[in-house]
Subunit: 160 residues, 2 copies
């Protein structure tokens, strides 16, 4: 894994063991047709997704509210370690171009996937610039939202 350190005062972490194989978790995270099935916690949905799986590549999703309002989001992929780590950020757009985060604070997501028995040790970390961004993200429901999405991811992975 490339250089990074987690700071509990600035970052948020969701860590859990799930009963699907690591390669299925990786596939669910990196395949647009699968992402749209789990990425947004219900009753929200994901109406489209585009992934260019390489450093500098686009990580694009459109989330749709229950009322049908759409929220596009563009990020930049930073690290791709096949089957074990995916890192992307909303501080940059495709091609490493700096961008202003639409929701007020940028964050970098580090998704790590490791074998744990027949299942997967899953760790998702949101890295923020400061404690206020961390709090904003926490208050938006990071733990519940990423947790519910992970449940959906597991359902999708089991259906493969």
């Amino acid at each position: 894994m490339t250089a990074y350190t987690t700071n509990p005062e600035l970052d948020l972490v969701l860590e859990r063991t799930v009963d699907v194989a690591p390669e299925l978790v990786w596939k669910a995270w990196t395949t647009p047709e699968l992402i749209v099935r789990w990425f947004a916690p219900k009753p929200w949905s994901t109406s489209s997704c585009e992934i260019d799986l390489q450093p500098g590549g686009r990580f694009h999703t459109v989330m749709r509210s229950p009322e049908g309002e759409e929220f596009p989001s563009d990020g930049c992929i930073l690290v791709v370690e096949e089957g074990s780590a995916l890192v992307f950020t909303s501080a940059l757009g495709p091609g490493f171009r700096p961008q202003v985060a639409e929701d007020g604070f940028p964050f970098t997501a580090v998704v790590r996937i490791a074998p744990d028995g027949a299942g997967t040790r899953y760790t998702a970390t949101a890295i923020h610039a400061d404690a206020s961004a961390r709090k904003q993200h926490e208050d938006m429901g990071f733990a519940e939202g990423w947790g519910a999405a992970l449940d959906q991811l597991v359902d999708v992975a089991k259906s493969l």
Copy 2:
């Protein structure tokens, strides 16, 4: 080279052929003890430099004004292609942590080095979020500053 595209309305480019070998240009760009000798256009100087040459690693410099005022700057390395490409950004700090740019606008620097006869085709691109950041960087003297620093880099490379 990883995915990125230059947009002339948003980006600034310095492109020049210099009469030193590509491996010396690479060495001058990636060795802290050499960076301090050329990075700041005179009469400014660089009082210290730290480089952790891997994606997520720190790119740190402290520039010193002729009056002795110091201006530290921290960036994050994104791409290292030995001898040919170095990409780093001020939109992220070490470990891919989002950060607020101290001088008001973040940018990503793409330095490309390619053989050109016995010399080097050198291309430095500054990638901005929008046209106003591009203009701000241009007005700060991007072309003159990066050009003068390149002249200093060539002198350092010739001394090796």
